[in-house]
Symmetry: C2
Subunit: 232 residues, 2 copies
């Protein structure tokens, strides 16, 4: 499907940023919160590190493979919808021509104004199908390399994020000491990550930094409170 270079750049950057944001948000937050929670649950650092590494393995595989399968299923959905549009253009062209006209009428154009386009598309069935996929159904042709890239990006971002809160527990022997260092380095990492995320996604960087740090704090606080209540 032909796309303007502008559009393609727009979508590619958005997807990769979205994947890094998904992976690193959870990677920084969940192992951080789990380790904090277990510290509240009166557990030694060996168990916290074991749980943290198990969580990083599980989380990166689950999210990476999750991303892989989501992208694969998008690609299959596109293929099956395209097949259906192909049949409809062959079998009920009058109906499909009406649908093209309706797309334009929803932008306030009259039937007379849209008629030349409807006629022109009718002469080019392949372009017509591509047009319907994008403009009637709102589906973009998926990039075949997208599934693997998405999986590796999410998993890598999760692992990179996860080791930041866990490292103090690997280095320190006392959980309460490790927790303090873990809070310090993870809050700093969340602020930096949130700031950079803001620059990429067009959000105000400072607001993004504070919001991201707040999510991590909320998750860690909830995990600590729950684990502490159980261990009483």
């Amino acid at each position: 499907m032909p796309q303007t270079p502008h559009l393609e750049r727009h979508f590619t950057a958005g997807d990769v940023v979205r994947d890094i944001v998904i992976g690193m948000s959870d990677g920084l937050t969940v192992p951080f919160a789990l380790a904090a929670g277990l510290t509240g649950g009166q557990v030694n650092t060996r168990i916290i590190v074991t749980a943290g590494l198990a969580e990083i393995a599980a989380g990166s595989i689950a999210m990476g493979l999750g991303g892989y399968l989501a992208a694969k299923s998008d690609a299959e959905h596109y293929a099956s919808e395209r097949e259906r549009e192909y049949r409809e253009v062959q079998e009920i062209p009058e109906e499909e021509m009406r649908e093209v006209a309706e797309v334009f009428e929803s932008y306030g154009l009259t039937r007379e104004e849209t008629w030349p386009i409807v006629q022109a598309l009718r002469k080019r069935p392949q372009n017509w199908i591509d047009f319907m996929m994008r403009f009637e159904l709102g589906l973009e042709k998926p990039d075949p390399k997208r599934a693997l890239t998405s999986a590796l990006t999410i998993a890598g971002a999760y692992i990179a994020g996860g080791f930041i809160p866990l490292t103090p527990y690997i280095l320190a022997s006392k959980p309460s000491t490790a927790l303090l260092y873990s809070i310090a380095v993870t809050l700093l990492a969340l602020l930096i990550f949130g700031f950079v995320k803001g620059l990429f996604t067009g959000m105000k960087p400072l607001r993004s930094a504070l919001q991201t740090a707040l999510i991590g704090s909320a998750a860690a606080g909830a995990a600590f409170a729950i684990a502490h209540a159980i261990s009483e």
Copy 2:
């Protein structure tokens, strides 16, 4: 922005299904893998339940708030891009008219065939901007309720999924016994979830069921192996 009812249905269903899939995939998988990992790490069920509940709290908050902020940032991105299109339509209308023509030319239409549409849009600046947002930039107007719905859907699906693998550890006192029941109920849940997910997303349900069970098994296997290696 006016949308055909068909399109709106398509997108709404896709987003909710995507959110449930994101939340439940990880909710079923990560607490399952963490509990299995800690069983491999020679830890008692009290600690496994503590870690599991801390993980469910952390994971649902991180993913729910993550979904919330992602949807919010989509909405802000849309608003800032629309502002830019508005300015461009005012300040450089000739350039914008050329861009409309290019959208159609990428579908094989000639400049003569697209000219009536370009002229018609020029007469209706609001519709023109809406048209550019969707057809040049490929951006859909976000639903304002979407951010909160997305957050609650992801978090709820995560919690619902997470209690399935954890319940055997709450009921049984011996970790190895709990692990066997946890594997049985979670594999069954993953197969059912994968099957239903397949029905919604247009994938072959049986293939989806097996793939989903495989992700859970891979994550749990990796977590078990890592935790077991550390505890040696």
